[in-house]
Amino acid sequence: MKAAIKKQMWTGARAIAEAVRMADVDVIAAYPIRPYTGIMNALASMIAKGEFQAEYIVCDSEHSQFEAVKHASAVGARTFVGSSGTGLIYGTEAAIVTALGQLPVVGVVGCRALDDPGNFGMEWNDALLFRDVGWIMAWARDPQEALDMILAAYRTAEDPKVLLPHFIALDGAAITHVASPVLPPDKQHVEEFLPPYKPLHPLDPKSDSISKAMHVAPSLIGPEQRKVLDVAMKRAKNEVIPQAWKLWGDLTGRRYPAFMDAKDLADAECVLLTMGAYSKNLEYVVEKYRGKNIKLGSIRLRYFRPFPAEELKEAVKDTKAIGIVDFSYSLGSPSYGSILYNEVKAALYDMDTRPLIMDFIFAGGREMTIPDLDQATNLLIGAAKTGKNAERPVRWMTVRGEDI
């Protein structure tokens, strides 16, 4: 009863801003681009009103934005940044260097279709561009989870066993601009969950004098530096992330499975898989089909990096067919598929018996409707009936014109 009263109707933008405030972030770098700008607006307002103290830098570009927080983080400040679409891409160089330099910056990607042309619709390609370089990437389902994920992101990123930057990706306006009930955690829970950021070797004349990111000759050092990142990502997957969510559940009672959420999976013959807010649509469809006694289930990945391959293999070992609901494209890739599809395929490759995999590409930012999902589901069910390999496993959905 009390909990329901304490719930606020917050947009994703607001919820994230509140999380940043609760995390006592020190430096924020802002640059406007739809749809994530609302988060920065909310933060600016909080700071101006004195609700929260942080340095707020209005930058001249996303490249400067990501560079500013990277350097602030090196000094020992807790930082926050974010962008969307083509703006995120403008900051790519800086973002990559942040990961390779192991700075625990936390950022939000308000996923948005890449230019050209300009398009406010939702695609994942902007965030997924960073999948190889060391950013931890989680996808939030709603403003509540976005808030919780922000706090978990700081804890994960700043863990000395990890020290990797962390993106929380949001399905664009579906989260940033839509208000839904959010229960902010108790201040005391946050303090227990999130210790202060104390880097081992900050850039500070008061600390040990260090040189960071010196140019190297690869015959002397190079692969070793990359290996450190590889191990950090593995530690995030195997220890730090699961422990974080367990602790979060113990403290707040809000229990999330660390890497993967599922509905009606147990006896599902066909499974739909996606990330983020549109998982709600998948769950709606699952309920509908279950009502017709069709054994449908759904999976929602909470993390894209590190990719939960083991959990996924375990989840689908008795499934006949998986349909990936993918808001990305990967032009020219194997099977002319999309990014999440290719990753799932790779993850399931070494199973002794594999389910058949289909790819439903929702590119170009157009909204996915329930009829679209019905269509995809029917294709999946049809393919499952025929056997192992789907004929034409990759489908471009919602496109007017022939899917050649």
């Binding site: 700075l103 070797h201 260090i210 960071k212 690869p218 015959s219 002397l220 050092i221 450190v228 950090a232």
Partner: protein, 375 residues
């Protein structure tokens, strides 16, 4: 690293001073490889990648390889080719005889038996040999030494060197092919005549060196085992102390290979590309730069008025403030100190004179060099 099992390659290494000799080294390498092509062989030439970008005075090496090495040739790799592969080693600046190359390799590292050392100098071959024994050889070597006073043949030292190289490589490259390649690269008759004269005058002197006679060898043996005991594989990320131990040991490694062996395993690295700094007032124990010198500043204390200008203007900070004195481990011999010294208390003396009291009649490092366009 290249295996020395590749028998049928002809490999030439051309050592020069960065920027000042870059264009010439490149030209020599191109002529040698072009000659190989006319002889019907495969060929390539390139600057050792780690020497790029070239820096003024800092040693660089151009390689010309005739034949097909099969593997992606030694590439963008800083590591010296392993094994004995060089048929000829050319040295464009005689001051390089008394210093190792920038990667702590020696001029004669990697030479085959019966190979040749060709040096642009006015000194006699036996003095050159003496310097090599003292500074730049750590192995047995039966070969030839040729000295070329390049200015005798042409203002551009390239042609004197090519003539001499063509002489010592006459079993592998026909002289006619060398002349053809000069013509193909647009050289005129005066250049070709210079090459012919230098070729005729080249008088290789047979030499036979034993490793034990060479100072670098004596220095190295005994140290090898000490470095083999691994530098830093103990446990997790380094702290300042472990880092400095490692830095010191890597700096003391007498060869590049041993230095590579000192390098840390990934477990030792502090996350985030962190290295630890030395204290103000110390100099960088990790990288001494004396090998860059052709000349060294010699200070006359009777004339010095202690104005501190040389300390102020040294780009490398190699002159102590008090008392004023040059740290020759780091001085690159740029000469700025001598130009800013009011009372002219600093004179620039050629390295050979300073170390061996040997007089170089002409100093042929061309002062106004071309910028290397191939990058």
């Amino acid at each position: 690293m290249v295996s020395s099992e590749l028998e049928d390659l002809t490999w030439v290494a051309i050592h020069g001073r960065g920027v000042l000799n870059t264009a010439q080294a490149s030209q020599i390498a191109s002529v040698v490889s072009q000659a190989g092509v006319f002889a019907g062989r495969d060929a390539s030439y390139y600057m050792r990648y780690d020497d790029s970008p070239e820096r003024v005075q800092l040693p660089l090496i151009y390689y010309a390889v005739l034949g097909n090495p099969g593997i992606g040739i030694v590439l963008p790799e800083e590591v010296e080719p392993v094994g004995n592969i060089f048929d000829a080693v050319a040295v464009l600046d005689s001051s390089m005889l008394v210093h190792p190359t920038s990667q702590r390799a020696l001029l004669l590292d990697g030479v085959k038996q019966e190979s040749s050392l060709v040096v642009n100098t006015s000194l006699k071959a036996d003095l050159v040999l003496k310097l090599v024994k003292k500074f730049n050889c750590a192995q047995d070597w039966d070969g030839k030494v040729v000295t070329v006073r390049c200015s005798k043949y042409h203002p551009n030292l390239v042609f004197g060197m090519i003539g001499a190289l063509a002489k010592v490589l006459e079993d592998q490259i026909a002289f006619d092919d060398v002349v053809d390649s000069l013509e193909a690269l647009g050289q005129k008759s005066d250049a070709i005549a210079a090459v012919k004269r230098s070729h005729k005058d080249a008088a290789p002197m047979r030499v036979s060196l034993r490793a034990e006679e060479c100072d670098p060898y004596r220095l190295k043996s005994g140290l090898v085992e000490r470095y083999r005991s691994i530098c830093a594989s103990n446990g997790g990320p380094w702290d300042r102390l472990k880092y400095m131990e490692l830095k010191q040991r890597a700096a003391e490694a007498p060869t590049y290979e041993l230095r590579v062996e000192c390098m840390p395993r990934w477990e030792v690295l502090a996350p985030g590309l962190i290295e630890f700094n030395q204290k103000p007032g110390e100099r960088n124990i990790g990288f001494k730069t004396s090998f860059a010198r052709s000349f060294r500043p010699v200070q006359d204390p009777r004339l010095c008025i202690n104005c501190k200008l040389c300390h102020i203007f040294c780009p490398d900070g190699a002159i102590d403030f008090d008392p004023i004195s040059v740290d020759y481990d780091y001085c690159k011999g740029c000469g700025i100190c001598s130009t800013v010294c009011g009372p002219k208390a600093i004179t620039m003396v050629h390295e050979l004179k300073a170390l061996e009291d040997a007089d170089e009649e002409e100093i042929l490092t061309i002062r106004r060099a071309l910028i290397e366009f191939a990058y």
